[in-house]
């Protein structure tokens, strides 16, 4: 096999990596083995990996004995269970109360205002069913008491003997009067916890406090706590923090024998756009910045380790690492290292590549091998994006097995001297395995500060091996997110760390070799975690997405799109399966991002074509309506498959005709595919059987559904494939024939969709496509008496016009399903996490250039945090890239046409006079060639300042006082719109209150508010925003049917 660049790729054979000359291959050749394993079939890959991890009999025996001895010693040590271990033992994190208390701990310290803090305490301590759990004395109250004791340092005791029944104690604690006391106590408790789990609030304190452990032979790697930077300012702050930390460690005067401490750095803290899409910036300006840091570290001889982050950034991190590592000022140092996560399917080829990199440069790379910290979010992310498989293993024992396979490679003679392995684990079996596998001492162990003390005290005493402590340094308010993550990683009942300190768990259960456990499973992949394609079980297949962040996937995907980037399409009305070109008017289509770029030519229909189309559709109705629902559904499922088979062409059309970015285009196609499959399922459910039902008068009704006749489907340009096909497939599945009229701006993609529909077996009479301007075709389409229903998505005003035209016919009223605009709000209170909010706001307001019905228009920020949120939002906006949507680096493409552009520009100009400008992102240099609007945010005093929806990248921000929340909700409701609502709060009571009071169709809590998924978040609003039923929901298709009944006495 050869790649596009002509490099020959041989299949990655696991056993080959031990060959003496394997690491001498060109780096570019070894690199080619990495990406293909991103989403490799788990069963297949683990079969290859297992022999590498599996021990022979002798090794197994040795490991079992070693692990048993370690566990016995840990359990014999009276001081073994403290700090994080104690929390883990007390908390099996499958209890609601445990999670609630964790939520409280996570948010409390960042809340600036007392009222909100007290409300959060009340929320967390009052919603759980403590009383019910008290009967079950074994677990929960014990847990709660422990938390109380641990959190408060015995300032407040939840001792049940103190006040009669224990639940009264809880009630007393959450009594309104005592809230300020609890708040103080909780804050104090967080500080106490902070003191225990953070080595120091600053690096000097950490160095000082570390001396005791260093005297025992340990050394440190310091981790500076904090979130990823979203703004240039935050990145600069983190950079300075790192510089200062490195300087301080460099100056440390500790005189003992323990090795020098190092610093761990998180790349996402050093640049606001550390992402594959911004590769040029990452390998350019970001590289220069990190280089400066490492050069400084080398000058003071403080080793630096680059922390591992999400799977999407792995390849990027390696490219950046390579460039830095090979820099002339870093060569020969041997103290610049990185972290690799063994749960990644790509870990082994990455280690091979790194070993070769080091070998070829002639110095060593310190490499921390961890199991991996983002496992749950990786799984969720893949399911959301419909990816082919997971980048991580789905079982704990698979990760443990992979860890040992990686360890065996790292400890091999071939690698010795090139990689300095640093094994981070708190699993006694893993530790014993590493000790058994090692034939030399050129490696070290690493553990977290506050975890595994007893285990490693034993290891360090009995083995001549270095142990480094990974220790968080920073503000206590930044601690809890870190701690919560550690608890989640290790706090589940099934985790080794949890069971190690649980004396009830027999040692024999803890010393099974993971390779043996894994081999004993019926399937190597975890059957409880469905693949993204199987998210909807047997009901339907999930739509498929590509991961453009992964080199291998992107190359394959790009190759599908590229052939269509220069295609010129010809499109026109399709009547009775024939494209019409007589009596039409020819229109040229150009790309919204570049008007000199021709996409194709489109023939616009005339009123006469409408008449013809309605005639054909009317004639075809009886036959299509009588076609069994199973056949209609099957045709739509074939269409779904055809859409996926034509991914490349549809992507090119989304780019070129609609101005959509890469990810938006993928999402668009996926939504269309989901609609086809969803309505196929819904039609079978609703229309296969006759429903028998007793009527109110004692008779029996037999009800069957059938299509109503000819449906007119009028769809917008902003989701030119998804909404277009959503309406059409629902109508067809229900047994109607359809005359579809897509927005004229996006006629070509609609034309191709109908061609594919015909190919899928929908008869030519059942679907008619009318292309052209709404102004000339709308009236003939909706005034015709033959029309049995209309589905429409577009503006509220157009909906009214259609409604009037329909009503003025000499015919019975027919269903009019209208999906219209919104004045969508997001409400955030002071318990929210600002970084999360900034990310979700930017996506909700500006993705797709704000041209989504669901897009955020008005952000309500609680006053107490406005000064933190608004600058962060400004900084994040300034990092957005506006430009050609075909490019991966582009976040925001053009708006659809000049009319849209001038309307939006007018609003911006007006707001510049009447509101405070928060930020306006830059336009590309060639913006004049297309129709771009710079993403802009204004601060306004009230939502009342806005009279109508602005369908573009314009955000308005309103500050509110916590006490005014209900007034704010009233003003949102008073707008009359009711489409989407976002809420960011850690207070469930607040979230529920807002969700119950705001009249919106789609409510999103603690996430962005765009991207509704078919069947998962049925979409549609109320009031001025639409009629319902919700598209992609269980009631939509039924509105396209009529009920036929037989009644028997």
């Amino acid at each position: 096999m050869f790649t596009a660049t002509g490099i020959k790729i041989t299949k990655f054979q696991v056993n080959d990596i031990f060959n003496a000359d394997f690491l001498d291959q060109p780096l570019s050749q070894l690199w080619q083995h990495i990406s293909p394993l991103y989403a490799v079939d788990e069963n297949h890959w683990l079969k290859e990996l297992l022999p590498l991890a599996a021990p022979d009999d002798n090794e197994r025996k040795h490991i079992t004995q070693g692990a048993t001895r370690l566990i016995e010693k840990v359990r014999a040590d009276d001081g073994a269970i403290h700090m994080i271990d104690a929390l883990l033992l007390e908390y099996s994190l499958d209890t609601r109360e445990g999670i609630l208390l964790m939520c409280l701990a996570e948010a409390l310290m960042r809340i600036p205002d007392a009222d909100t803090a007290d409300a959060l305490i009340r929320d967390k301590l009052s919603v759980a069913d403590w009383k019910a759990h008290l009967k079950n004395s074994e677990s929960l109250f014990v847990n709660a008491s422990t938390w109380g004791l641990l959190l408060t340092g015995k300032v407040v005791s939840l001792d049940e003997n103190e006040d009669g029944t224990p639940s009264n104690v809880i009630n007393r604690l959450v009594n309104k009067m005592s809230e300020p006391v609890i708040r103080k106590v909780m804050n104090q408790a967080m500080k106490i916890m902070g003191h225990q789990f953070v080595l120091g609030r600053n690096i000097k304190e950490a160095l000082k406090r570390g001396h005791a452990s260093r005297d025992k032979g340990y050394t440190y790697s310091f981790d500076m706590l904090g979130e990823a930077a979203l703004t240039r300012q935050d990145a600069d702050k983190y950079f300075n923090d790192y510089i200062q930390a490195i300087t301080a460690v460099g100056k440390d005067t500790y005189k003992g024998k323990s090795p020098r401490p190092t610093i761990s750095i998180k790349l996402s803290a050093l640049h606001p756009r550390y992402e594959v899409s911004q590769k040029d910036r990452v390998l350019g300006e970001m590289h220069d910045k990190v280089l400066e840091l490492i050069q400084h570290a080398r000058a003071v001889n403080v080793g630096v380790t680059i922390d591992a982050e999400e799977a999407d950034r792995l390849e990027l991190s390696l490219e950046l690492f390579e460039k830095l590592y090979q820099h002339e000022t870093i060569r020969g140092w041997g103290e610049f290292g990185l972290v690799i996560q063994a749960y990644s399917k790509r870990a082994l080829p990455v280690l091979v590549w790194l070993a070769a990199l080091a070998k070829q440069q002639g110095d060593r790379i310190p490499l921390r091998l961890v199991k991996g910290a983002y496992w749950d979010s990786e799984i969720k992310n893949c399911q959301q994006r419909g990816l082919s498989n997971y980048p991580v293993y789905t079982r704990k024992e698979s990760t443990d097995t992979a860890y040992l396979a990686c360890a065996r490679f790292l400890l091999s003679e071939n690698v010795r001297g090139h990689i300095y392995p640093q094994f981070a684990s708190h699993n006694a079996h893993t530790v014993a395995s590493v000790i058994s596998m090692a034939t030399h001492n050129d490696y070290e162990f690493q553990r977290l500060h506050g975890m595994g003390d007893a285990l490693y005290n034993t290891v360090i005493k009995e083995n001549n091996v270095a142990v480094r402590i990974y220790a968080p340094v920073g503000n206590h308010k930044d601690l809890l997110p870190y701690l919560v993550r550690r608890l989640l990683e290790n706090g589940a009942n099934s985790s080794f760390v949890h069971r190690l300190v649980d004396a009830r768990c027999p040692i024999s259960e803890l010393v099974n070799h993971p390779a043996d456990v894994l081999s004993s499973r019926k399937s190597l992949a975890n059957p409880y975690i469905p693949l993204p394609s199987e998210l909807f079980g047997n009901e339907r297949k999930n739509s498929f997405g590509f991961n453009i962040e992964i080199e291998g996937e992107w190359h394959d995907f790009e190759a599908l799109i590229q052939p269509f980037m220069s295609t010129t399409w010809q499109a026109g009305p399709i009547i009775n399966a024939q494209m019409i070109s007589t009596g039409t008017t020819l229109h040229a289509v150009t790309a919204p991002y570049d008007h000199s770029h021709t996409v194709g030519q489109v023939n616009y229909a005339s009123a006469q074509h409408v008449e013809q189309a309605l005639g054909v559709a009317t004639d075809a109705f009886p036959q299509w309506s009588n076609t069994p629902v199973s056949e209609r559904a099957a045709a739509l499922e074939r269409l779904a498959d055809l859409l996926e088979a034509n991914y490349g062409e549809l992507m090119a059309l989304c780019h070129r005709e609609a101005g959509k970015t890469l990810q938006d285009s993928i999402d668009e196609i996926r939504e269309a595919v989901d609609f086809c499959r969803y309505y196929a399922v819904q039609a079978r459910l609703a229309m296969s059987d006759t429903v028998t039902l007793p009527s109110f008068d004692g008779s029996t009704m037999e009800i069957q559904r059938e299509g109503r006749g000819v449906f007119v489907c009028i769809s917008p340009w902003n989701f030119p494939l998804a909404i277009f096909l959503g309406q059409v497939t629902a109508a067809l599945a229900a047994g109607n024939t359809v005359v579809a009229k897509p927005a004229e701006q996006t006629s070509i993609i609609a034309f191709r969709a109908i061609e594919l529909m015909l190919e899928a077996g929908v008869p030519g009479g059942a679907i008619q496509l009318i292309i052209g301007e709404g102004a000339t075709l709308g009236a003939p389409l909706t005034s015709d008496n033959r029309v049995a229903g209309v589905a429409f998505t577009g503006s509220t005003n157009t909906a009214r016009v259609i409604n009037r035209t329909l009503a003025n016919r000499q015919a019975e009223p027919v269903p009019f399903i209208a999906e219209t605009g919104g004045q969508n709000a997001m409400i955030i209170d002071s318990t929210c996490l600002p970084e999360q909010v900034a990310r979700d706001v930017v996506r909700s307001a500006f993705a797709s250039a704000g041209q989504r019905c669901s897009a955020l228009r008005v952000l309500f920020v609680q006053k107490d945090i406005a000064e933190r949120i608004i600058p962060m939002l400004r900084g994040a906006m300034m990092e957005q890239v506006v430009g050609n949507p075909v490019l991966h680096k582009t976040d925001i493409g053009p708006v659809i046409d000049k009319k849209a552009q001038s309307g939006l520009q007018l609003h911006i100009d007006k707001m510049k006079q009447n509101a405070t400008l928060i930020a306006q992102a830059a336009l590309p240099a060639d913006a004049e060639n297309g129709t771009f609007i710079a993403p802009t945010a204004f601060e306004i005093s009230s939502i009342d300042q806005l009279t109508e929806e602005q369908f573009g990248p314009i955000l308005h921000v309103v500050r509110y006082k916590a006490s005014e929340l209900d007034t704010i909700i009233d003003t949102i409701n008073a707008s009359g719109f009711g489409l989407t609502l976002g809420v960011h709060t850690r207070n469930e009571t607040t979230a529920n209150h807002i969700a119950a009071r705001v009249r919106a169709g789609n409510i999103y809590i603690n996430r962005d508010q765009v991207g509704a998924v078919v069947g998962v978040q049925p979409f549609g609003g109320q009031g001025l925003s639409g009629t319902g039923p919700k598209a992609g929901g269980p009631h939509y298709l039924k509105r396209f049917t009529r009920e036929i009944r037989q009644q028997q006495a």
Binding site: L93, D94, E106, D376, S377, I379, K380, Q383, Q384, K396, P481, R485, L488, A492, S494, S520, K522, N526, Y528, I529, F536, G537, L693, S695, F696, D697, M701, N803, A807, N808, P813, A818, L833, Q836, G976, R986, A995, R997, G1001, N1002, I1003, Y1004, I1005, R1007, G1015, V1016, Q1017, P1018, Q1022, G1023, L1024, G1026, P1029, K1030, G1033, P1034, H1035, K1038, E1043, R1045
Partner: protein
Amino acid sequence: MTTQTLQNAILKAGSAWEAWNALGVTKRIEKLSKAAQQLNQPIATWLMDRIGTTMPAAVDLPGPTGEANSLHWSGRGIICVCADANQVDLDNGVYDTAIVAQLFTALATGNAVILQDTHKYTHRLHSVLLSAGIPEALVQLVSASLHDLTQQEAFHAYAFCGTSDTLAPLNQQLAQRGGMLAQLISETQFETYPTITSLDYPWRFVTESTLSVNTTAVGGNATLLELGGKNDS
């Protein structure tokens, strides 16, 4: 009745709507059942039974791990229950059955109602509901013409009983109205009642909402982590 009086009634209905809607379907039906029994109208009991059994307040939806998605419904808001005044007294109370259906369905699904005073029976309906403890603001009897009622933009829907001849102009007048698109839920056939006995009928009175909660916002997905270590052999 003056336009002002009608508007005041609508305002009053609007202020009572939120609490009634928030009460939940079970409690609403409980309250309405008393009135239904008094009226001896099988259609009311039958509809409330259907609403109670086929319209769960929330349905969980499938989706990715770490996200809780559910579908809910609530009353649309204020519904005008009206009828063809020239016809209502005819045909042995067949209209009454339809009006009862519209009124009870509107209320049971969480709406506030403005009931057009078309004939004596509407007075009886009104007083029975009040005596059953339904708050006065939720069901107000107004003597206004169909035309006047169609001018009010605050009505979310019109539940109409009458002939096709009246229906068409009513539909046209509603379409002329500004504001939101009003739903027109009409019964015009009084022998078989195809509208009020249809499967989808109560759903026409409600609006759906989707709730999507990121359950991993705090830091992770404990449930999934548990699955990762599940012992299945």
